[in-house]
Point group: D2
Chain length 258, copies 4
């Protein structure tokens, strides 16, 4: 892993009259027209330009996480946007504030288990130990299981295919697959690696540390939310959401309804 | 009006080992146990302690604005809270981001009309001019009208009563009542002063400038949202809101539903 | 404590043509002009009107927490406000997003220790056990110690005075004082109960559960931030903050400065 | 331009047991591993997959806008992150709330002028009319001028090069260049098209409507802010920013400093 956070500059960027510099590269000569958005955001965050193969795997992860329908996050953005159309940034911010433990916690939990396995001398034994400990304590398995996609989450299969095609699949994907085998053995049934588990592993093999993975989810959710806001500009759903929500939560008492 | 923004200190507070000072007062000797929350927030924002009468009118305005049911603002807070219970501040922030043009724009618009009337030599004539200009241009009248509360918004009546009882009703309430008479005359029917119009006038008579009125709405909405979050802690409505919203916005096309 | 969260209505408010009802009270007849802001926010959040004495103690806590100078929270609000003056709510939201573990974590931590003591059969023994466990593990003591206010935080002394004067001081304040004695004994020196510890105890004796205490901090910080925004409207500090921050974080490398 | 907002589905996505569908495409078969992040976000927002040439121009715009050093936006994110590391989404949200009129207003203003020119029968005459009206009223020219980059903003030159190389330069870039010539003629000196002006034109030629351009700035700023947060994780600057800001804004009065 060539990622060296301690070599980051303290100011990420600086400038002269003729150019702007981001880390050690010229914005005008080395970056605009040379890097695509994914390569640039990886460079901005991690301090090195990813290989084409790594960028392709990061793309696959970002594409997977962008859109999930009318989730709490998209609903919050639409409600806020229609209340304050003069400040689109507030609507995106409101939606992003949902990207917390419930929605990305499992990705971070899966990344932590992967790192635990990678740090062990005997990875297969560590995977088994994790599976058994979770079963004994009836703990949820972050990155595993899906209420609907059975036997397997099709996104995980596809993400692992992309990583393999690109030659990026490495220790992290191997670790989650060891864990998957250990889980199936321990629980006596097949429990799929879900999309958040697959993404934790795939981003790990691209050199993205667990501590900043949530950032990647936030960036691509921002794009997803801008899509919802543009739809809200043309087909506003705020009133329908408001009325439906109001109807769904019955008022229980008080003289107002008597 | 004794409010002098130019006399504000640049740092609102400073401290020594023995005490903290906010503007020119000792936190421990002059403020804690001496001012109530309303007096303190008025002092913090405007640099002077309000009279008891002014504080009572500000209280009435803050009480009026705190809670409006399952509005977009409350919905956004509940959705975000249940997605990230570890960060309650994010849920309040998300709800506050809705306090934009749609919900407080009319209060600010009414305050602007009041200030226009107060700046005129002949206030009655100015009020008539405003009413006629709005009618001619078919513009909405900020601070006037309510789809449900007819003939009059009961909150406005109550707010004007409180201001009169407290001896605070002054030029601003007089101006909006002149405007109200001019509107009834011009439109040939009675259009109520609504709660946002009454609050704009009442806060104006307490010395709150239009430029910071939105801040008062934000503070009391923050309290309203904390109430919704505490209810969400005990009776979570997020799933019901999510499902109701999802059902209310029909999917139109695509192979997924075929 | 008569607080029963399970008796809360699911919709906090409802309305008819003539009035609005919040929980079981008429906004126009029972609340506007009858409750002050503190009583109303307590009623909104906890479902019961506080006694005058409880309201006075809550006031003292809210006054204590409102303003702390140019903290990260105030800086974030000022920076955002001057970048987007059209959306004051975004500036307040940005500042509130700072009200996380670093600034209110100790209040919640202190409240948890108080609840642990109150749940024990022998409270004095429990306090000693907590003190010894923290010393042995070299853990920080939430609600205790202050880098500057020695020997005692003057705000805590004042808050306990107010609670005593109002007759509200009860089991929670007693518990933190038991813990304080146990800490002094265990550590062999006096460590002050700081303001966050005192507030955790005082709010506890008013019937505010630990789970929603952060909400009270958020509400009063919102008021503090509106004060900073109003100052920013008249004496903008954004450029000075920006330049000072830029100068304080040296750029380390890259060709841009060669 | 084949973009038809009215043909957008109301739900952007739906799903079956075997797959997820976004608009009319299968996430697993058509999107993951097929589209890169830029193509996907364009598809999400605008409902069509961009051409490779368009995607390259959008990439160039996103790369240009991502990072600008320790701006108010980056400062707000760092301050909030270090105050609440448990909620990275709050830190990104706080920084994004700065993406308002001051920072992206000129891009939207330039886009509006471009659309005005494109709607005119005689575009050259319209450009001249705009230049003359702005000079007469001493209005700022959105998208033109830079305090440092003279005679020309190197980013604009590079963006136009990329658009030309990709064969995407069309009516929007032509319009801003007509406006540039008219401005130079009217003002009697060369005023550069700055980066925000060039981006408004380049995104316009890719089919991005002015109403959603701010969304593109928000997405790439989110990535920029995640970079600052990752740096803050390893080289925290919050204390330095706080102290520098505190020192830069002098306290003016009050007994606390006597």
């Amino acid at each position: 892993m060539s990622f060296l956070p301690e070599s980051q500059t303290t100011h990420i960027s600086t400038h002269t009259n003729e150019d702007i510099f981001i880390r050690d590269k010229s914005l005008c000569h080395d970056l605009i027209g040379k890097l695509n958005f994914t390569e640039m955001l990886f460079f901005q965050i991690l301090g090195r330009v990813p290989s084409k193969a790594e960028a392709a795997v990061v793309d696959a992860c970002l594409v997977t996480l962008m859109e999930h329908g009318l989730t709490p996050s998209a609903l919050a953005s639409r409600l806020v946007y229609s209340s304050a159309t003069e400040a689109m940034q507030g609507a995106v911010a409101a939606g992003l504030l949902s990207v917390g433990s419930l929605f990305v916690g499992t990705m971070e939990g899966a990344a932590a288990l992967i790192e635990q396995i990678l740090a062990a001398e005997n990875r297969q034994a560590e995977a088994l130990k994790i599976a058994e400990a979770h079963k004994a304590a009836r703990l949820p398995l972050p990155g595993f299981g899906h209420h609907m996609h059975k036997p397997d989450d099709p996104r995980s299969i596809r993400l692992f295919e992309v990583a393999a095609e690109q030659g990026v699949a490495g220790a992290h994907i191997d670790a989650i697959q060891k864990l998957s085998a250990a889980i199936d053995q321990t629980y006596g049934k097949h429990i799929t690696i879900n999309a958040t588990g697959a993404i934790a592993a795939a981003l790990g093999d691209c050199g993205v540390p667990a501590e900043i993975m949530r950032g990647f989810a936030i960036i691509t959710r921002a794009a997803g939310l801008v899509g919802h806001i543009h739809e809200e500009q043309h087909k506003p759903a705020m009133r329908a959401i408001w009325e439906a929500a109001d109807g769904a939560v019955p008022y229980e008492s008080g003289p107002g309804k008597d």
